[in-house]
Amino acid sequence: MNPTEIDALNVASSHSLEAQVSAAHTHDEAGNSMFGFIVFLLSESVIFLSFFTGYIVYKTTALDWLPKDFTGLEIHDPAINTVVLVSSSFVIYIAERFLHAKNLWGFRAFWLLTMVMGSYFLYGQAVEWHSLPFGFTDGVFGGSFYLLTGFHGLHVMTGVLLQGIMLGRSFIPGNYDKGEFGVAATSLFWHFVDVIWIILFILIYVWQ
């Protein structure tokens, strides 16, 4: 290859190219991880979407929709549960703000509050499950009710677990020197779980 050609091309290469070169050299790990995590969540949402679609199909077509002697779901306690879960999304946001402001204890306090609220939600759900007169195998309604709430519950549990890990990690000195990817991802996951719950609540409890 002819060196003058290359020179010419090098001169021609723009500033933006140089910017890219230096960007590529510093190589943004956390940025990649966050991007990957968002892609994953998008994909994950399709599972819920599929379950929701299944639920709608069953509800609109099944002849014996509700199990025998069952008139409908109680909405009062689940509504309280919903309020708790949805507000926890704001709480976790406040926790994140504290972390940005380098106020570690503020972060921990609100982070812990989120965990408590998430756990309360799980507890409320467990109580509801115990009080219901039908089981997993009672028709398509029983099946899809427990499938949807259970699958969502698993996500809440995962969220609380992740939060626990992040809380523990916050005590490691220098943990946030390399950025706050873990916290940001957990928080994003939590919002995701929340939004799913709102749709779920409308589908199962409001639309009866």
């Binding site: 199909v57 069953y58 077509t61 099944a62 002849l63 014996d64 398509v140």
Partner: protein, 305 residues
């Protein structure tokens, strides 16, 4: 030069078109006899598709073959071909033509499908009764014509037909020639498929649904009726015959059958399952075949596979 190209292209296209049309005519011979109105419509459509497909296939492959034969690099020629990155006009053309072709194929197919109209008026049942558990209790629609549809009962691995007006059961489907046949397809266990190649029609049978199915046989004879939706171990053996006969012969068959006492029909799956295995062949446990049905009119011909 320009004119020469056009002439060459034109003659090639005409030659290809002629070959394609000829192929389209050949297509009529690739099928079992045309025993229904639907088969006539089908063959017409298929012939059209073959012509079009042949044209596209020969066009593309012809161009490739020409390049492969005549545009090879010499043994020691390491130079590159011309640097051509694209051609907007060409690209627009070869996007537009397939779009037009697709519209054409789709419109024609739609038209043929409408003329066949093999799904009966109870089609709406799919949207309403998906989860129904007791299909047997489902009577044909109240507004159904005086003649009730023939019921097709499929189970692992038996075909049984029920003529409700004469209360006749059979393991062979008899249909009057030149009349619209109305069937009600029901399954008692898993998915099955009602398929008569000579009629070019098929419909899956879904447990919990009763599916209205219609077609018009137009040629007397005996044709194969096959299960077309995989239904487990003895799926391949779940076959029987359709007999299309003159309306008189059909009526006679019905009255004769109505007068005959029910007998145990032959069933291949059942037979095989209970046949003593003389050669120890490894197999796995299977769902047990349903017992052979008691019918007024068992198959008049049996095939053993």
């Amino acid at each position: 030069m320009k004119i020469r190209t056009i002439v060459i292209l034109g003659t090639t296209a005409i030659a290809l078109a002629l070959i394609s049309l000829w192929m389209g005519q050949q297509a009529y011979t690739w099928f079992p006899p045309q025993a229904s109105l639907e088969a006539q419509l089908f063959d017409q459509l298929f012939s059209f598709m073959v012509s079009l497909g042949t044209f596209i296939f020969l066009g593309v492959v012809g161009a490739i073959a020409y390049s492969v034969l005549f545009q090879r690099a010499g043994k020691y020629d390491t130079s590159d071909g011309p640097h051509i990155e694209g051609n907007i006009t060409l690209e627009v053309i070869w996007t537009a033509i397939p779009i037009l072709l697709v519209i054409w194929i789709a419109a024609y197919s739609y038209q043929i499908y409408n003329q066949m109209s093999i799904l009966g008026p109870m089609e709406h049942i799919h949207m309403k009764n998906l989860g129904i558990a007791t299909a047997a209790t489902l009577d044909p629609a109240p507004e159904a014509p005086a003649i009730h549809p023939i019921e097709v009962h499929a189970r692992q691995w038996v075909w049984e037909f029920y003529y409700p007006d004469q209360k006749v059961t059979s393991t062979e489907l008899h249909l009057p020639n030149q009349e619209r046949s109305h069937l009600l397809l029901k399954s008692e266990d898993v998915l099955h498929g009602f398929y008569v190649p000579a009629f070019r029609i098929k419909q899956d049978i879904i447990p919990g649904q009763a599916i209205d199915f219609e077609f018009t046989p137009i040629r007397e004879g005996r044709y194969r009726l096959r299960d077309s939706q995989y239904s487990g171990t003895y799926f391949a053996a779940m076959q029987t015959d359709v007999v299309v006969e003159s309306p008189e012969a059909y009526q006679k068959w019905l009255t004769d059958a109505a007068a005959s006492p029910p007998v145990l029909a032959y069933n291949q799956a059942f037979e095989e399952y209970h046949r003593p295995q003389n050669s120890p062949r490894v197999g796995w446990q299977t769902v047990e075949p349903a017992p052979p049905p008691l019918v007024n009119a068992p198959s008049s011909q049996e095939s053993h596979l």
